[in-house]
């Protein structure tokens, strides 16, 4: 009896001690570790540690990863829902109509109504379809397009995984989505779906090249493939107010422009939305999909758009860095979110502004314009990196040469690009 009491009290003491030391650890975490990290900055990590802190070491790692996954799914799932609403609202405003405004206040419940509608629709599979692939295609597409989020630094301390070759990982995960598009087109057993899938693949492969080439200068100048180090390399301010973001250099600006155009095409957004042009192709490779599978394809499109925008923010716009020194009190993830939303707004604006490209114009733009420009941009970046110690008037010369190297090819190749196109001859009209 006595032994039992002793054992019980000992274990109680031990657990009490463990609890106390846990509280002490928590209190330590509350104290600012580095002066630059405000309380708000560390809030997400502290919240996570408060949840998983009591777990033993291997489980803690597992729980931390799980929480990161759940957080990404929740945040970007909600962002997807409200991005569709924002897109419809903004498109409506641009086209001088109100957009969805009947469900909830200002149409705020519209995404959920859409979700319920998609879930309750009949799921139609064509009689001769390849059933397994028909089911696997949307699932694989969503899963693969979510993989990219794993390496984007969302904040100073919010990196899901730190990889040495993070940028390569991101684009490897992105390249795998092409397979899902092929599966969707082929499994439908519909020759028009298959043709549309082939066109989509041609587009994806064509634009993969400028996308990959446009970030190589960043890797060259930062000297690393790790996203956290690329963001860190863009920290600091010149003369106290001009941030060292890569977009503010000649080669960085050209790279950012090429990256964004290629990202538009990679995520099948207008004006490059030929693969699923609803009004022309009856949604291309998605013709035979209905209900929730169809919604999954759009979910993957929006996830891909968010991931590519996040990568653009990381590579060119300084990631989570604040634009001005005195604005650093705002937590880093808020800056990341602001930049991400600005880019997404740009995507929507472009969709409302530009007409769709023709297939031949689309491939010509990739192969005859973007790829050579990206290659020349590589040379510009090499020049920039070789002349990093030029000072005084030489600094002006450096900017001038780099600017000519960026603008000159753009003008010359732009002329040859539009040589046979404008003014258009309407032969059959």
């Amino acid at each position: 009896m006595l032994q039992m009491t002793l054992a019980l009290s000992a274990s109680a003491c031990r657990s009490l001690l463990a609890g106390a030391s846990y509280l002490v650890e928590l209190a330590k975490a509350w104290r600012p570790a580095a002066s630059s990290d405000s309380l708000l900055e560390r809030a997400p990590v502290m919240l996570r540690d408060a949840v998983t802190g009591f777990l033993p070491e291997p489980w803690r790692w597992f729980a931390n990863s799980l929480i990161a996954i759940v957080a990404i799914l929740a945040v970007f799932g909600l962002l997807f829902a409200y991005l569709t609403l924002a897109e419809r609202k903004i498109l409506g405003r641009i086209q001088n109509r109100p957009g969805p405004n009947r469900t909830g206040w200002f149409g705020l419940l519209q995404p959920f109504a859409d979700g319920v509608k998609a879930l309750t629709k009949e799921d139609i599979v064509p009689a001769n379809a390849d059933r397994v692939l028909h089911f696997l295609a949307p699932v694989a597409l969503v899963a693969l397009s979510l993989l990219g989020f794993a390496v984007i630094p969302f904040g100073r301390q919010l990196v899901p995984i730190e990889l040495n070759a993070a940028v390569l990982y991101f684009f490897a995960a992105g390249a795998a989505t092409e397979l899902a598009v092929f599966m969707a087109g082929w499994a439908s057993h519909n020759k028009y779906s298959l043709l549309a899938a082939m066109r989509a693949l041609a587009q994806l492969i064509s634009y993969e090249l400028p996308l990959l080439l446009s970030f190589v200068p960043v890797v060259m100048l930062a000297g690393t493939l790790s996203t956290t180090e690329i963001v860190a390399a863009q920290g600091g301010w010149k003369w106290g107010f001009i941030p060292h973001w890569y977009v503010l250099t000649p080669w960085g600006f050209a790279g950012f422009a090429i990256f964004m155009v290629a990202a538009l095409a990679e995520s099948n957004r207008s004006p490059f939305d030929l693969p699923e042009a609803e009004s022309e192709l009856i949604a291309g490779h998605l013709t035979e999909y209905s209900g929730f599978k169809y919604a999954l394809f759009f979910m993957a499109e929006y996830f891909g758009m968010c991931a590519l925008s996040g990568m653009a923010v990381t590579l060119f716009l300084g990631g989570w860095q604040a634009p001005l020194p005195f604005l650093e009190f705002i937590p880093s993830y808020a800056w990341f979110a602001a930049k991400l939303l600005a880019l997404l707004l740009g995507f929507i604006w472009i969709r409302a502004t530009f007409p769709r490209l023709r297939m031949d114009q689309l491939t010509r733009l990739a192969w005859k314009f973007l790829v050579p420009l990206a290659l020349i941009n590589l040379g510009t970046a090499a020049f920039w990196s070789l002349t990093h110690d030029w000072a005084g008037p030489l600094q002006l010369a450096r900017w001038g040469v780099a600017a000519v190297l960026v603008v000159g090819p753009f003008v010359i190749m732009g002329r040859t690009l539009s040589a046979g196109v404008a003014p258009r001859k309407y032969r059959y009209a």
């Binding site: 070759a165 684009f171 490897a172 390249a175 397979l179 020759k191 693949l201 690393t224 493939l225």
Partner: protein, 171 residues
């Protein structure tokens, strides 16, 4: 550690074997991408991060696409994917030859005493890899670049058709 390796090996071997035995070429190509991803998983397991992502990017992203395009371009009708079963004699002789090679290789591997593995895994950062590629292996890198260019040009020349008439959209 060994457990993970076993799972990866099983997945890779099973998908590869099934892919090469299937009669539907599209299914074969798609299953092989799973097998190639399994090999990338093995590289990750061994700590060669860069090679793993390069494997995914090139095999799953590029080569599988080329294979699928080739499959689609070399058939006459929609139902031409299912290829006729191979002759039994050919299959049996292939199995015997492959089995013999497998036996020899397994015997050789099992009977060899290999040096003890180092206690710590070698760490190879992308930076060191890049420096190695650019200074001691720069010539090889250039040769590979030339090889890829020549190969792609050759592939285009082989696969391109002569245009029948110059007025493409006269009708």
């Amino acid at each position: 550690m060994i457990f993970v390796l076993t799972i990866i090996a099983f997945l890779t071997l099973a998908t590869a074997a099934v892919a090469l035995a299937l009669r539907n070429l599209i299914h074969s190509a798609l299953l092989l991408t799973v097998s190639w991803s399994g090999i990338a998983a093995f590289y990750l397991w061994a700590g060669a991060e860069f090679v793993a992502f390069a494997q995914i990017l090139i095999y799953v992203g590029a080569i599988s696409m080329v294979v699928l395009f080739a499959v689609l371009l070399t058939r006459r009708s929609r139902d031409d994917f299912a290829i006729a079963p191979e002759s039994v004699g050919r299959a049996v002789s292939a199995l015997i030859a492959g089995g013999a090679v497998l036996g020899v290789l397994f015997g050789a591997v099992v009977s060899t005493r290999l040096p003890d593995p180092p206690t710590s895994a070698p760490v190879v950062t992308v930076r060191r890899l890049g420096l190695q590629l650019m200074s001691p292996h720069a010539a090889a890198l250039l040769v590979v670049g030339a090889l890829l260019t020549v190969a792609l040009l050759g592939a285009v020349v082989l696969a391109a058709t002569a245009r029948r008439d110059a007025t493409e959209d006269a009708g």
